[in-house]
Amino acid sequence: MKKLITAAVGLSFLVGVASADVASDQKAFINHFKTILPKVEFAEFSNGVYAVDEGSREQFEEILDGIPPYEGAVEKGGKEYLKFGLNKCASLADPAAARIKHPYFDEASQQVVTLESAIKKCYAKQTGKKLGSKKGKIARISAWISDQAVGKKINVIVKSAGAKAAYAKGKATFYAKRGQFNMSCADCHVYNAGKKARADILSPALGHTTHVPMYRAKWAGLGTLHRRYGGCYKNMRAKPLKAQTEAYRNLEFFHQAMSNGLEITDARYRK
């Protein structure tokens, strides 16, 4: 019987859905990546696959040394931030602070508020119009806001009972098998990080949110974190959820918390 119990505990390694303690979860997370990717320094995890793969690292650095393909879009996002009066909402008035503050758990609504959900809300208030959630204007504005916080560290705070419940739900989503392929986010970005799926190296989930919204050559443009979630749901042959739905916001809450202490970067380029 004891053996059975230890086996069960072994399986729930990192999964420990019942617990909702960021510090201990993150410690286990970091230790795991130290074990499977011993050469990668903590700060380097913000570079995704390029922290792992020397082959494509050079190309990445060349792109960053030149004029990255998203530079114009991010500049435009800055103009749009002012044009639509987003500086007039308290939530976004100080853009660097806004990037650091989000995602956070709002006690009044008992919901996780992401940076993009705050941008959408403010945009609607200022213009009376709806803003998308995945690409175009929202990605440009969000990227510009995040650029103002470059060098600051991700610091997701999970304290109240409500916050812990949202975090635990996000964590469960991250580790749950789903879709026709019966895969979890962790299958690719934790257990098999650094390995190749065909020609794609799987990036470690540690550091996944330091450069969002990311630019992807495949998209030929910027996309939000939730746009990427949709793509990865398709990788699992699961039906993507709508960007900014509660389940994705909770997932982001957990996902960003796992990168606590890593610096926000404007190195947004990915393949």
């Binding site: 190749k196 799926a197 020609a199």
Partner: protein
């Protein structure tokens, strides 16, 4: 008149759309095509298989299958539902979740068995 023409061509396009998959179905796919095809087995996503390009490194190389699976049914069962052996595996349960048909799984099994 213009309208009729465009609707006629729409019908033609629709007909072509229906005919094409029929024709594609008529030509039987080989075991190799089903095993390597990105929208089918896509086994190369995770496994090195002799003769396949750009293999992933997530799963073990598929080599010497006859020696490792003296009972072919065990090999087929692994492809049909890899979670029986390892509930946490990343390998998709191709048969159980109907990602592939029974016939396709037979063909993949036969093909892999020659490796």
């Amino acid at each position: 008149m213009k309208k009729t023409i465009s609707s006629i061509s729409a019908v033609a396009v629709l007909a072509a759309l229906f005919v094409m998959p029929l024709e594609a179905g008529a030509k039987e796919m080989t075991g190799e095509e089903i095993t390597f095809g990105r929208k089918l087995g896509n086994c190369l996503a995770c496994h090195m298989i002799p003769g396949g390009n750009l293999p992933g490194t997530i799963g073990p190389p598929l080599l010497a299958m006859k020696a490792r699976f003296p009972d072919k049914a065990v090999l087929r069962a692994q492809i049909w539902d890899a979670t029986v052996k390892n509930p946490n595996t990343i390998m998709p349960p191709f048969g159980k979740h109907q990602a592939l048909t029974e016939k396709q799984i037979d063909k993949i099994t036969d093909y892999i068995y020659t490796k």
